[in-house]
Symmetry: C2
Subunit: 430 residues, 2 copies
């Protein structure tokens, strides 16, 4: 396919007919394959089944009965376990409920309702005709953008480069605009490209000058230990912020949604001592504690940070063949012709980011859907669901079986080509 | 003690000396008894231990794997179970996280951030120099008042009578003040007096004219099935609101915190179809779902509404002797002299509300504390922690053992009398 653009219109039309024949044959199979969300497959979940027979004892190390009320910050043994895993002091961690997304929304809601560090509540901007703005490295995680949209936060897309957000762009924006209140970051194996932030980017995020005193980094380390091909280190943002004189700049989120059970795991927020104190003040009005028995369940299941990492290797062993299939199919089907499509080659995480020819993403997703392959909606990885180039498609290889995935990729590649030919020929044959 | 006020000053002084001697003997025992919070005792929690070996199967009736992402509204079988228990259609229920307090805070936060039914967000009142106001039947639940205080809601106390809030007072207030946006209600076995709302009160709450279109009843049915001495029926507020032409007036909260494990149970919010739709819209930005495995755990543990009620009878059998002790000790120690103290005789719930002589509550709690008996802080059951009469003390008999409780009550009664004598004599002897 390397010379598609060099072909005559006649030959392109012949090729198009051949591809449509192939497509109709695939359609006739009546497949139902879903690559739309980053859902773990059943065999991944099976690795955590022993959780469901825990906790054994409900008495904590300090003698407290975990079945009863109390311990707003989360049980000490759980904060220690994940603190040791992530290199964060247990005192700087609050255990949340079953998902870190909820902590992110609630933290943003607290900022809107109460402000932070004595600054005005962000909700007050609206009533004086101003808007809170957030920087959104793109493509990025649709649920981050959804929180912003829900709260009326104006999203400013910034380029995500190979080592993190384009810091020249970021620094220029934040130093001049007091209404830019923060940035979303997925610092390791980002959703969807698998970008890992370099030390230099972490340093700059921590030290850059911001017009807003209450500028906040929402550091969603969702894939912090989700290495598949290669372990990637990550500079400690909390320490970097502290050293740079901005100790309260960052909220750090983590969860076991993609370690044990999505939606029945444990989550945490980590931050500076001042931020933790402020957050606990808000949370003390919201809840008496999150589910301590689920915290204890996870502590008893894992025991040590080392055992969490061993568990992650088992998960990686299940995911790696699936990533292999996607990458190999793309290599075989598209090859080096980046005018048709290019894609990320992540070292971990949950996704592969595919860029098809500008203007072809929606059509590709539509064609795939009509052949039984459900993909994430084109544009979903952009604020307001709008990809300005209509180019990006997120591939989530985790949920289907290897066989299904291979089938789905064959169809996807077919659709990529058909959409591209339609663009070249300026037609849309039936 | 019926004739205390009739005694000469000399005799009162003699009595005071005798009581102080008794008090010092109690002090010397170095007791540590806690009646401060409505915590279940370990033997109550033991009844739910089989929960910790569930769920068996994680596959739902419709074939969905409950271990994975999704089902924002909560698993259908759990909504059905509690819907049947409470007489609410499953479609009008959203399962929440581990505690209904969190749902109450979040619902209030949604109202502040987004408003309801197209009305302006409540947060916007603040910035135009106005205040959202809430009616607070008193005495009431301190954590309701804490939510209001946190959000800057002005609390307006209203009298709680034997059959619910003083509806003449309530109706007069709400019909004239657009800033009064709601009322807190614990309609059965209220915290702390054990008041149960009559049908007439429920009707009036549903049908009364309110100046605010977005007036909301926060219906915290925390003790809806917590009958100890007598089963008390409760009129269906959601249907009453619908019939009265105010279908969206009420948010109904329930949880298993005092059924299975506090802080590791399941919670729910029920409301009109419009409200449910609106809430799901907000929640869809906040979370993918709450903990479905804990929902399934509860479904498999209970199976049917009837089994929940049998479980409640077992809990009542553990609580009844404790309530008996408190009531009997008060009867024996204080008797009919209501100038010293009077108290509620609840039919269920978790508390007994004690009213000591005006101006004596803080001193009584202080004296008890110094003799090793921790009570809820005096005034805690009032907005801002301020009981205007300094009279009310909440007794929480559930947590101590029967033996401890009897000891604690002896000390409390001693302290009530000492504080009362101090008031009569105008002194505070060492």
């Amino acid at each position: 396919m390397t010379s598609l653009r060099a072909l005559s219109k006649e030959k392109l039309t012949d090729l198009q007919s051949a591809l449509w024949n192939e497509y109709r044959q695939e359609q006739a199979k009546g497949l139902h394959l879903n690559m739309s969300r980053g859902k773990p497959a059943p065999d991944q979940l099976d690795l955590s089944m022993d959780l469901l027979r825990l906790p054994d004892s409900c008495i904590l190390e300090d003698g407290t009965d975990a079945r009863n009320y109390g311990i707003l910050q989360g049980i000490p043994e759980c904060r220690k376990l994940f603190g040791n895993l992530l290199g964060i002091p247990a005192d700087q961690i609050i255990m949340g409920g079953n998902a870190s997304l909820n902590l992110m929304f609630d933290t943003m809601a607290f900022l809107f309702l109460f402000g932070t560090g004595g600054n005005r509540p962000w909700a007050d901007y609206r009533t004086v005709g101003r808007t809170v703005r957030f920087l959104c490295p793109v493509p990025g995680y649709d649920r981050h953008f959804r929180i912003c949209e829900k709260l009326g936060i104006e999203m400013i897309p910034v380029r995500l480069l190979e080592d993190g957000p384009d810091m020249n762009q970021v620094k220029e924006l934040v130093k001049n605009d007091e209404q830019i209140k923060g940035i979303w970051c997925v610092p390791l194996h980002s959703n969807p490209q698998g970008v890992c932030y370099s030390d230099a980017v972490v340093e700059e995020l921590a030290s850059m000058e911001t017009a807003a005193d209450d500028f906040r980094i929402f550091w969603d380390n969702a894939y912090g230990i989700h290495h598949i091909y290669e372990e990637v280190p990550l500079k400690d943002i909390l320490t970097a912020c502290e050293k740079a004189g901005h100790p309260n700049r960052c909220y750090y989120f983590f969860s076991t949604s993609k370690i044990t059970f999505p939606g029945a795991g444990v989550s945490l927020i980590a931050a500076s001592p001042d931020n933790i104190k402020e957050l606990l003040g808000h949370m003390s009005a919201q809840t008496i504690s999150h589910d301590k028995l689920n915290q204890l369940r996870h502590v008893q299941f894992f025991g040590t940070p080392e055992k969490i990492l061993i568990h992650m290797q088992k998960l990686a062993d299940l995911l790696r063949p699936k990533f292999d299939i996607v990458l190999q199919k793309l290599e075989e089907g598209i090859g080096q012709d980046s005018s048709i499509a290019s894609w990320s080659r992540p070292k971990g995480g949950y996704f592969i980011s595919l860029n098809v020819s500008d203007g072809c993403a929606k059509r590709t997703v539509e064609l795939a859907g009509q052949a039984g392959v459900t993909l994430t909606a084109a544009g979903a990885s952009y604020p307001y669901g709008k990809d300005p180039d209509d180019s990006n498609i997120r591939i989530a290889p985790s949920y289907p079986s290897e066989e299904e995935l291979a089938q789905a990729m064959d169809i996807l590649i077919l659709c990529i080509k058909i959409a591209y030919l339609e663009k070249l020929l300026g037609n849309q044959p039936k």
